[in-house]
């Protein structure tokens, strides 16, 4: 399989370039091949969204890339500049934002908002674009005669809106879709519907998919690989089933334990777990492992220096001294 995206040593900062710098993402690297689905897992504020925004040059004001590269099909996205990025956004890489309800302009019809993307990237006239938009809306599960393209966003449910946004994302046949918490604001049933839709689209269109989330459960159908992030760094990565079933890093272990087992067997009933403490202040990261203050398996070395990449198993990377 051909490599699609190679991220290397990506470091994103906020604030001024001297002191008081906040490192939202530091030294993140991963590879993605065409059609692969990966999940990025982590608490709020651990740099997942900054990572996604940085790759597409969409960092909010005050944010900038300190170093690193993100090579997509041979071009480095981080040095490409705005006009080049505009041609790639939506056409080759699409980003789905968190809130579907807010991602659609309330005063424009759904069909028109789909069509504008096709007009921008595929040089269609508005009639062609409208017809094409209908076809794409069919692909995300709206029936032909639903006339969904004539609807305004307020007439749709949350799940329908998210499907429209997904349709926008795949309209121009991108190679990569980055979904940033795509189901966080939806109810549980709809969540699974959307996840299954993303998975079936990924299979059908050979999309690569980066799914950013704090809920491990939704990664199961989609992700082949999982990256766990903490305080802007990757702390563990490996094949999805291995990471979810036998997490190596104490943070991943804690995160997975926090999940709620709705129908526990009597033997497995336990109090609801949580990770003590809170994520560190990104402006003043500890010298050693960032997770050390909250870690139950803390050793002396953890506070002294930063952990290095270790390979306790062949396919898995973990940044933790436990496996030294």
């Amino acid at each position: 399989m051909a490599s699609l995206l190679k991220v290397h040593d990506l470091t994103v900062c906020y604030g001024d370039r001297t002191e008081r710098q906040i490192r939202a993402v530091s030294g993140v690297g991963f590879d993605l091949v065409e059609g692969e689905g990966i999940g990025i897992l982590g608490e709020s504020g651990c740099g997942k969204t900054s990572l996604a925004s940085a790759m597409l040059g969409l960092l909010p004001r005050g944010g900038y890339v300190l170093r690193g590269s993100a090579v997509f099909r041979g071009t480095d996205l981080l040095t490409l500049g705005e006009p080049g990025l505009q041609r790639i956004r939506g056409a080759e890489i699409s980003l789905i934002h968190q809130e579907p309800a807010l991602a659609l302009n309330p005063v424009l019809r759904v069909g028109d908002q789909m069509a504008e993307i096709l007009i921008a990237h595929r040089r269609m006239n508005s009639k062609q674009a409208r017809n094409e938009a209908k076809k794409v809306l069919e692909q995300v599960g709206f029936s032909v005669d639903s006339n969904i393209d004539q609807a305004f966003p307020h007439q749709l449910s949350g799940g329908q809106k998210q499907r429209v946004v997904i349709a926008q994302a795949i309209a121009c046949g991108p190679a990569l879709v980055i979904a940033d918490e795509p189901v966080a604001s939806l109810d549980a049933v709809v969540q699974m519907e959307i996840i299954n839709l993303l998975q079936s689209l990924r299979k059908r269109l050979n999309l690569a998919l980066i799914l950013i989330t704090h809920t491990p459960d939704i990664l199961v159908p989609i992700a082949q690989r999982i990256l766990v992030m903490y305080a802007g760094r990757i702390v563990e990565q490996g094949p999805a089933h291995q990471v979810l079933e036998a997490p190596l890093h104490p943070y991943t272990q804690g995160l997975l334990k926090c999940g709620l087992d709705l129908f526990p067997r009597e033997s497995s009933v336990r109090p609801l777990a949580s990770i003590p403490g809170e994520p560190p202040n990104l402006a003043a990261l500890p010298t050693g492992c960032a997770f050390a203050p909250r870690c139950s398996d803390r050793m002396e070395v953890c506070e002294a220096r930063a952990p290095i990449e270790l390979h306790p198993e062949k396919t898995r990377d973990v940044w933790c001294f436990k496996y030294e």
Partner: protein, 363 residues
């Protein structure tokens, strides 16, 4: 139940007759205001037909003639279906303030859709249709005449073309500039924002009436009616962009951070596209309301300038230079019909403010 009724009153400070009443009322206001404005503008635009005379046509033998009354019943008690006026006779030696008397023997029936020659040498005797008139040599002055014996009604209608449209064009100019600068300022921010907003503050601090004096001082003494019209529109419009630009900037500032703007950007939209399609559409409400407030303000500005002799110059009429006749105390005291141009401003302003009010409620 102690204090029950008092609490109920506190929870329901205003009871509306039925849901949506406010909206219904707003639509009624908007329709009424717009209808009034459209009518006034149509009549003024159709001055060539509605006015019985050309605006500069003089009737030297009847200066300051009072408005003629329309009659249906003549001196002998006969009722006529066609309205008529009596010819006015001028008595220069009379001591009365208005030395005119109706001549009951000269009945001038009003004729509708008459062909009348256009005054002036260039017209070469060309004729065009007028809504009404009387058979020559009779004259009809429904709103009286001024010191040159020019028909006030005709001047009022032609003058409206200047005054109403000066307000309209100047508002379009300053709103256009305001939207352009305000949206650029709000959207791009940083140094551009700083420059534009400091500029806006300077313009808001300018005493624009003196600015016009200054601009006028650079121009030759006599400027044609057309040039002075555009000069007025230019100065009023160019100095007025500051306030609308600040309002637009505010709307753009809040609109540019909306999620759907970010979403559109991550699907490949350019800055200009975002501004045009997703952001500017939010400013329409503010811009329309501003328009309805600015136009009457600018009409008044034109009237003021022309009143001071800085605006459109004679013989071309404008409501301002018609009112300039009132600068003479004798005119102010004796000839009440010379206030006509000031009085017509009242309904115009009322209609505009009605529209502004309705737009504000709707926004």
């Amino acid at each position: 139940m102690p204090q029950g009724s008092a609490e109920f009153g506190a929870f329901c400070p205003t009871l509306r007759p039925f849901p949506g009443a406010a909206r219904y009322q707003m639509k009624g206001k908007l329709k009424f205001g717009l209808l009034g404005l459209v009518l006034i503008h149509l009549v003024v635009l159709g001055a060539r037909v509605f006015a019985p005379y050309d605006p500069a046509e003089q009737h030297r033998d009847s200066p300051f003639a009072p408005p003629m009354r329309l009659h249906w019943v003549d001196a002998r008690g006969h009722t006529h279906l066609r309205p008529f006026v009596y010819a006015l006779v001028y008595h220069p030696e009379s001591s009365a303030a208005v030395p005119y008397k109706e001549d009951r023997n000269r009945r001038l029936p009003v004729r509708f859709f008459v062909e009348k020659a256009i005054a002036g040498v260039e017209a070469q005797g060309a004729k065009h249709l007028r809504l009404f008139g009387v058979d020559p040599p009779g004259e009809i002055f429904l709103l009286g005449t001024d010191d040159f014996g020019r028909d006030q009604l005709s001047r009022l209608l032609y003058g409206g073309q200047v005054s109403l449209f000066a307000g309209l064009f100047a508002a379009a100019l300053s709103l256009g500039l305001g939207v352009l600068l305000g949206s650029a300022s709000g959207f791009y921010g940083s140094w551009l924002d700083a420059i534009i907003m400091r500029g806006a503050e300077i313009f808001m601090a300018l005493p624009w009436i003196y600015l016009l004096f200054a601009v006028r001082a650079f121009l030759p003494l006599h400027v044609g009616a057309r040039e002075s019209f555009f000069l007025l529109v230019g100065v009023i419009g160019l100095t007025g962009w500051a306030r609308p630009s600040r309002l637009v900037r505010g709307v753009v500032l809040s609109a540019k951070h909306r999620e759907y703007v970010l979403a559109a950007r991550s699907f490949g939209a350019s800055n200009f596209y975002l501004l045009r399609r997703h952001i500017l559409s939010e400013t329409y409400g503010v811009v329309l309301t501003q328009a309805a407030l600015l136009i009457p303000q600018y009409i008044l500005a034109e009237v003021t300038f022309s009143f001071l002799g800085l605006g459109v110059s004679e013989p071309a009429p404008s409501w301002g230079n018609m009112l300039a006749a009132l600068q003479k105390l004798s005119v102010l005291e004796s000839y009440w019909w010379m206030f006509a141009a000031g009085l017509v401003l009242v309904p115009v302003f009322l209609f505009y403010h009605l529209v502004a009010d309705a737009l504000q409620q709707g926004a």
